[in-house]
Amino acid sequence: MKGVKYLSSAVALAAAALVIAPAWAQKKYDTGATDTEIVFGHTGPYSGPASAYGTIGKAIQAYVNKINDEGGVNGRKLKMISYDDGYSPPKIVEQVRRLVEQDEVLFLFNTLGTPTNTAIHKYVNAKKVPHLFVATGATKWGDPKRFPWTMGWQPNYQTEGKIYAAYILENKPNAKIGILYQNDDYGKDYLKGFKDGLGSAGQKLIVKELSYEVTDPTIDSQIIELKGSGADTFFNITTPKFAAQAIRKAGDIEWKPLHFLNNVSASVGSVLTPAGLDKSVGIITAIYAKDPTDPQWANDQAYKDWSAWMDKYYPDGDKKDTFNVFGYNVSYTLVAMLKQAGDNLTRENIMKQAASLKNLNVPMLLPGINVNTSPTDFYPIEQEQLAKFNGKVFELFGKVYGE
């Protein structure tokens, strides 16, 4: 089964290579690319309240080091210039301008956060700098008509919200739904997708909708309120710390709803284990990547490669942290795209190649979920599969959602 899949993607790649082969004949460079080097820019929150995401930048750097040790991409070494943006929109504007105007990078890669990327969205498109595979699940990054230089990467939050909604409509049409969401762009995006998915039924089904702030010490009060509302279905749109609190508190007060947990916090090692595995049984989530702490992947070759890479190139990194898988996967996508670009390293061609990834198989994504883009499709990963926690692992079930 797997072999066939690898083969088909290899064929696709070969076909793609044939199509663009003529471009390889002459070397073409924009600023940031030379015969020996490709320079790209990145920003992330290495300081400040969102510094938990800082590890993604470090993982990307670690992956770049691995690629360079193996000889680089088409004979060129990668050089990543990464600055701290502190998750602050004004700061990222300054840092990205530094990358583009000062360091003259070829493209920007995986800049992190919705408010931050919104702040530079217009600028990079006016400057015609590829703004690739941004680290946010908002929906607006896949708008090639208005913003042809910006592209997302991960499945967007709204799509995921719709998947849960579809599941509920199908399997529990009389659900009484309680929602807890983080009061920011991330929480509201999930909420919107979920409500859109429920459609007109939403009015009737949703019985309680509560928010929390990232500065709140606990969300116990919200969980008690949700239980009090009589909800029997719980859509939990929270980041890891609050997700763990919610799971434990619901268990403590014996509220046993059908529990949907957003992908952001669906980690066995860093959320469910601290919350209590017994309390986590039955949690449903939609996943697209392999959870490094899920024992079902322990003997998977892709996991072993990832683990070996972590040991060698990022020994300080936390292997429980799913962000390190994220950094690995997104870097893998980048390298595949750059290989495809060959010697034509203009900004235009980079964007063109990013928009023509066909059935790219990224090892630490779930089997059957591939990266696909086209000039009209700027959402690289659009597939997710539902999984239910059985006390030990997330058991995948049902179909793969998305095209």
């Binding site: 300081s47 930048g57 929109p89 301008r97 919104t118 702040a119």
Partner: protein
Amino acid sequence: MTTSEATAPAAPVAKKGPNAIGITIFVLLLFALPLLLPVVLPLLGGIITLKPNFMIFQLTLVIIYAIAILGLNIVTGYNGQFSLGHGAFYAIGAYTAAILMDKLDCPYWLTIPISGVVCLVVGFLFGLPALRLQGHYLALATFALALAVPQLLKYNHIEWLTGGVQGIVIIKPDPPFGIKAINADQWLYYLALVVACIMFWLAINLIRGRLGRAMIAIRDHPIAAEVMGINLTVVKSMAFGISAAYTGVAGALGAIAIAFVAPDSFTIFLSISFLVGLVIGGLASISGAIYGGIFIQFIPNVADAISKAAPWAIYGLFLIAAVYVMPTGAAGLIKQWQAKRRAAKQ
């Protein structure tokens, strides 16, 4: 850091008391900077590889922060009221400008004075009750303000106005009258610089004037000031309002320069940064605001360059080292140095 070296040596000239010539030269130099940079930077060749446009943009931010810190200085340095919440006024100023431009198509230059007035009123009204509190209690009240404002901006029922969590994207202004000689970055720099000159000039006059002296009297001895017939509540609230207006003007400029506002731009850390800039620049010193602006603009970048692993640890060390070396701020240090030099001459 080259930029701070470019401006820092010029500043002490300006600070030699009421030395009109020194200040004029300094200001003229600032005005000439965008024209000089493209000429000078290539001459320096390998030494400085900064690009003029980016440098101009960073300097614009320094000027904007300097205005905000000057505002904080009016209330904290000259009036002795502690505020941990000036990020809130910066946010209100920025949102006022953004909403005016986005919803009412108000010309960007007009939003700057309007933001100032809005913040003046909000600051005054906040100050009336809050300034009855002192010390730590006032710190809590202002801290609460800084936390509450970003939350209010996200509030569901005013989302149509503020854009909620998504914020507002605004259009960056081009130079007026179709001037081609300067680009948008240079134009913003000049705009910020002109506003800053006006605000600094107003501040100097304010401090020397009747209200300024009343403010200082209240700081130094509130009871004596009251006995002298100064209305404590009104003067304190006025000081707070004016201070908020300064920070609001800076916020409006900041919104125009960044061309985007969102609740995440105005976290509590912004308020703390202003306080850091104030103390490290120099309390109760007009020129201190400039050094403070330089510090909060550039030192985080330096910390980031030193360590990706824990840039805040480096930043923290810088903070502690700064208060060791210059407990009265950069302005105080420079003043001491000047006094020493003068004494040596005589």
